[in-house]
């Protein structure tokens, strides 16, 4: 009994450690990647004992700055909600990771550990519920600040969330129809099959349209450019105008956390999660007949590495997109959500259903 508790604590501790550090690391990636794209050098002026380490210490300097800054609550603001809002934001972004499987079953002695913090049967629903709840932090921040610009940002966030949440949800239905499960662990396991022994049965191959709709809608959910209308730094500064210190830092952190959530979800749903091509639980089985057997530890580690690499590549691509595309105009944003992505997602569901009914028996 106590061992179960320890294992769960270790798993959740590991996920929290990895995710929060990755989010901190994102500040560095954002600075340096944008610098390289724009032929600059990027932040490199926070040396520790003369070591600049390519500006890596700027994240630490940022944290020190955020924690030591004065925390200002506007005079007429709602003190309780103003304080709670950033916590809501970060909390819902963090708990999403509980349902993400980052590796297959690890066997220690006679104990089987699933590398997933919480094994939820309807994990997919849970993840999207938590993602949607995240917008409450934004709305509360806008509302509690008693600032017209902040409210404007909050309202924009709300409208944007509603528009894109639907496209997001509908795009996932296709995936659920193909793999016939809502459990993310099972969904990843189902992607371990192959088509004709050669091609991995990943979501990107079975649901390419859903993938594009998902990525677009999910990027809109992260509230980062080109969908940063709630923030819109150059016009309304956004829902966190009235925040300073670490409370602002938490909104900032949420942005990065949500990027990571989206990257991880895209990996899980469309790129086979921890699946490595041709790797079965006992080793590699190549379609040309070769075999290379590995132990359970190596298998799990390879799976985790595969999951991490795919997620990191997604984060890199998302960062590149963020520094490539200009912000949408508000009506363009709405049109893209309602008239573009939503119909495409619906058509995708219908086509998927037809294909499954016609060719479903063959599989």
């Amino acid at each position: 009994m106590i061992e179960d508790v320890i294992i769960k604590l270790a798993l959740s501790g590991f996920v929290l450690f990895a995710v929060l550090n990755l989010a901190g690391f994102h500040t560095w990636v954002e600075r340096k990647q944008s610098a390289l794209i724009q032929d600059r050098i990027g932040a490199n002026r926070a040396p520790i004992f003369g070591f600049r380490a390519l500006g890596l210490f700027h994240g630490i300097a940022d944290a020190v700055k955020m924690f030591t800054k004065e925390d200002i609550i506007p005079h007429r603001a709602d003190r309780t909600l103003h304080t709670l809002a950033p916590f809501f934001s970060v909390f819902f972004a963090l708990v999403t990771f509980a349902a993400i499987p980052f590796g297959d079953r690890l066997i220690i002695g006679d104990r089987v550990i699933v590398l997933q913090v919480a094994k939820i049967d309807a994990a997919l629903l849970y993840v999207f519920a938590m993602l949607s709840l995240g917008v409450y932090g934004v709305i509360l921040a806008g509302f509690a600040s008693r600032n017209n610009y902040a409210i404007m940002g909050g309202l924009r966030a709300t409208a944007q969330m509603i528009s894109y949440e639907i496209a997001l949800g509908v795009s996932i239905i296709g995936v659920v129809m193909v793999y016939e499960t809502m459990d993310l662990s099972e969904l990843v396991r189902a992607q371990g099959q192959t088509i004709g022994g050669w091609i991995p049965f990943w979501g990107i191959l079975t649901q390419p349209v859903a993938f594009f709709v998902f990525v677009t809608a999910a990027l809109a959910e992260t509230k980062r450019p080109p969908f940063d209308l709630p923030e819109a730094e150059s016009e309304i500064i956004g829902y966190f105008v009235e925040y300073s210190g670490m409370k602002f830092g938490m909104f900032y952190l949420t942005d990065f956390l949500e990027t990571i959530v989206v990257a991880v979800l895209a990996t899980t749903l469309f790129f086979g999660g921890w699946q490595v091509p041709f790797l079965l639980p006992d080793g590699f089985h190549f379609p040309w007949g070769g075999e290379f057997l590995v132990s359970n530890w190596v298998y799990v580690l390879l799976g985790f590495a595969s999951f991490s690499i795919k997620s990191l590549v997604f984060m890199f691509v998302f960062m590149q997109l963020r520094w490539t595309l200009p912000r949408f105009r508000y009506d363009q944003l709405m049109r893209l959500g309602w008239k573009g992505l939503f119909p495409i997602a619906v058509v995708n569901v219908v086509v998927t259903a037809l294909v499954l009914v016609i060719f479903g028996e063959a599989r």
Partner: protein
């Protein structure tokens, strides 16, 4: 009134799809990213230094190259015996539109030179860097070619340069001791005339 119909170019279906445009944008950013990443890495190993990986000039360590006609902090040119070339003709003080130059001329022992500045102050907090003083000088005694741009200081007093700093652009306030041998007035002597021409001749 005639109506002008402006026809805006309509987007083709291909352009309305967004995706090709996004792809072409990504192509540019990815090209810059990987080119610069590669160049930075190669620079670390010491190769291809002539290909710049960034347009950044790292300011306090690197300075932007200045044009030869750029007007920077003033200096007074000197003769071989380390006395100022200035003959105290007051042309620069007269032409200065900001009235930032203060000259007190004194008699020079050499009859061919006639005068020299006992005191020569420029208040950089007032100077507009027009360069008229350089243009007007008949003796090429004042120039604005030191290349010194970082003139910020914590007080207005520190912006006032006297003859020490003007003759030696390397000097910065606060000055420690007075090294000029010819008779001159400066803050270090408390407004008194210090030095003698005999000391200059003795060198």
């Amino acid at each position: 009134m005639a109506t002008i119909v402006v026809r805006r170019p309509e987007l083709t279906f291909w352009e309305k799809l967004y995706i090709p445009q996004i792809a072409s944008g990504l192509k540019i950013t990815f090209r810059h990213f990987f080119r610069n990443l590669l160049l930075h890495t190669v620079h670390l190993m010491g190769y291809l230094k002539h290909l710049p990986a960034s347009a950044t000039i790292q300011y306090p360590e690197e300075l932007r190259p200045l044009m030869s006609r750029f007007r920077s902090r003033h200096r007074l040119t000197v003769r071989e015996d380390n006395t100022p070339r200035c003959v105290g003709c007051m042309l620069c003080e007269t032409v200065c539109p900001a009235k930032c130059i203060t000259i007190v001329p004194g008699e020079h022992p050499d009859a061919h030179i006639e005068k020299y500045p006992v005191r020569f102050d420029i208040d950089l907090g007032v100077c507009v860097y027009c360069g008229y003083c350089v243009e007007v000088c008949p003796e090429d005694a004042i120039r604005m070619d030191t290349g010194i741009l970082d003139l910020a200081s914590y007080s207005r007093e520190a912006m006032k340069l006297d003859i020490h700093e003007l003759m030696d652009p390397g000097l910065r306030k606060p000055l420690s001791d007075c090294s000029l041998k010819f008779p001159h007035k400066c803050e270090l002597t408390g407004g008194e005339v210090k030095g003698s021409w005999a000391a200059v001749d003795g060198v």
